[in-house]
Symmetry: C2
């Protein structure tokens, strides 16, 4: 097994070849897409070995996330081609100014350098992350989960062949062979080798990064998303949005976890909500949503009494915490105490309350009369996404290609001194 | 003495009042400028006490940095008024898109929240940093150096009176009363209280932040700046630029520390350089520059032999390390090994070499035929500056008001679900 340190050195050393050959990036991406198809037998075989090993330890959902098929590989290749077709984020002149002394300053977007990604489960993240990094001019170090090791390794081999087909060094995509906690910790400390570390995984991984990382790091994904139903809300719209935000795909980070209802409509709205999310869903053959209720809500509808942690839990499940609040100010205050800064929504007909909510709620994405489920690079029109940042520095919300760039100032003159 | 934790809580709690009263920001800044003038007796008295205490321990340069006069306070107040006159960085719509489903997404600039600044020596940083933070919509926690404690405290009192004059909470500007290392370490660990920590000080402070900070942090200031004189350079221009970059103000981070000279012109150029920086400066009554020479340069001109560390030292003094390199590629490779990512320059008549240098050198500011001394918020036309970032995440180079903002997505619709 090659050491993580060796891989870091190799990837870093390959970076200048990419910087010097920007024009070959798209050619390389298309070659990678071709290689994913032409190498698919090797990838599927590796994936079968991962699935065999995983069968005794994981449930159906997890096995399905791990599983590759010819169709899924074709989807990965198609995704690579779509990224190739996106505009190049590098070299954009973000601002250009001629100073009184005649020098011309261009603030110009440039790649970050080497991006490392720690991720779990789904093998398609391997090609997604690699091609987003390459398209934005960065080298990448991938560190996937143990359960998908063979699949990831085979995908990386195909990617590296694609790079070589285009005359670029295979080492631009580094692959960490050690899947222990130690290798993740080593990436967190790799100052001078890694310009940005993106942890994509559970809350435990994110916390370990926040606490231990010495390299720049972007927190992603934890989403305790709130929806506040104001007293003037269109209640039919509210029921549609809440059901969509909670139950269309409960396992994702932009799903709703907490509902706040204005006290003046609670007696009217909550019974309708309870029916919509429980008996009506059952009648439609859908999984009903368990409601965890604060005392005021529990006085109106049946449900589980909310415990101390229910308003600070990312369920990722068919569970919704419900509280009654006095007004928009109380809703904003509740969100300030419990939000993870991901996605928050107000449903209202009041322009004043909408303006207050969007101004005062501190989150990556703040919605008015729209489901929180739209926080996603594709839905925002970015064409792709490397993850959803819940921090405020550098990138916030869905990170597309532009967010994988930094900038530098290029100053041209004819002898200016100060 | 109030604890740092108490101050953090107080400042954080004051933030919503600022968010809700954007329109009062400029009024507050103008009131602060007035208070700096009206409270100047108290500030000068506190400063005299600092100076008395410092006299036995510090040299003239340091005492001068510490010293306030009515003129300097007037300069501080004028600086505050100039910041008030700058455009408001908050609330800019950075991108607006209407999606096919009709929802409208606005990527909108917003303040970071609470910015903490650890700084040393000059008391004017107290008002500069506070007003830049306030103008950009942020609360601020200031932690200055021990030697300027009384001066900083008095300035903060004036600032807080100005805030109250404008009906804003004084606690928006927090002042850490503990000047020990412990309080700096506490700020580095204040997750949930601080959204951005900016260390402004020596390399030791920056390193402590990189190694220990749990809160988002921006590295500033360390500048080992290189100038490469290509074989086609205009040599008269080169002499002017080098003398300016090295000797106009050697104590600042954008001063040149290392000179690289193309081997084909070394025999001609180095003797002219040596005369310009030593005997000619002496003849003009100026401090001569000590040259630390690599073996190839030492074979051509007299000077000190460069030791192992001379190409990795930020001298901040009348000292210049000089090396002869084979060509632009060798210069770029030398800079990649030794640069701190601050400011680097090429002096050349070759468009091709200029393009290669600006593309491949990885620094905040890359110059063609211009002195490195221009890396500065004012000189770049930003109107002001909170420090110079040498990292690539979030902000790079001079940080003006825009760099003290993050953004959020505001999405408005009429019931969109996914």
């Amino acid at each position: 097994m090659r050491t993580t340190h060796e891989i870091l050195i190799e990837t870093r050393s390959a970076l200048p070849a990419l910087t010097a050959s920007r024009e070959r990036k798209n050619q390389a991406l298309l070659a990678i897409a071709d290689r994913l198809i032409s190498e698919q037998e090797a990838i599927l075989e590796a994936n079968r070995a991962d699935l065999d090993a995983a069968r005794s330890r994981y449930g159906e959902v997890m096995l399905d996330r791990l599983k590759l098929t010819p169709e899924r590989i074709a989807g990965m290749a198609q995704g690579v081609r779509e990224v190739a077709a996106l505009p190049d984020p590098e070299g954009r002149v973000l601002r250009r100014v001629t100073r009184p002394n005649g020098m011309v300053i261009e603030k110009t977007s440039v790649p970050l350098g080497v991006i490392a990604i720690i991720y779990e489960s789904r093998p398609n993240v391997t090609s997604d992350a690699a091609v987003l990094a390459l398209k934005s001019g960065n080298a990448v170090v991938l560190r996937g989960g143990r359960e998908a090791f063979r699949s990831n390794y085979a995908i990386v081999q195909a990617i590296r062949k694609g790079l070589e087909d285009a005359g670029l060094p295979a080492a631009l995509v580094g692959f960490v062979e050690d899947t222990s906690h130690e290798s993740a910790d080593e990436l967190m400390r790799a100052v001078g080798y890694i310009d940005l570390l993106i942890p994509r995984g559970g809350a435990g991984l994110i916390r370990r990064c926040t606490e231990n990382a010495k390299v720049p790091c972007i927190q992603t994904g934890t989403g305790i998303c709130h929806i506040f139903v104001d007293e003037t809300a269109d209640q039919d719209m509210a029921l549609n949005i809440i059901e969509n935000a909670k139950a269309s795909r409960p396992s994702v980070c932009n799903a709703e976890e907490v509902l706040l209802v204005h006290k003046n409509i609670a007696a009217d709205f909550l019974p309708r909500l309870q029916k919509r999310l429980t008996s009506e869903r059952e009648a439609r053959g859908l999984v009903p949503v368990e409601l965890r209720l604060d005392p005021a809500a529990a006085a109106i509808i049946p449900g589980t009494a909310a415990g101390e942690k229910d308003f600070d839990t990312e369920y990722l499940d068919y569970i919704l915490a419900v509280a009654v609040v006095d007004d928009v100010d109380a809703a904003i205050a509740h969100i300030a105490r419990h939000s993870t800064g991901h996605s928050e929504a107000i449903l209202t007909r009041s322009d004043e309350n909408a303006a207050k909510f969007t101004a005062l709620v501190d989150a990556s994405s703040v919605y008015v009369n729209v489901s929180t489920r739209f926080t996603d690079g594709g839905e925002f029109g970015l064409g792709c996404e490397m993850g959803i940042s819940t921090q405020k520095l550098h990138a916030r919300g869905p990170m597309g290609l532009e967010e994988l760039n930094s900038y530098k100032y290029i100053i041209r003159g004819n002898g200016q001194i100060r």
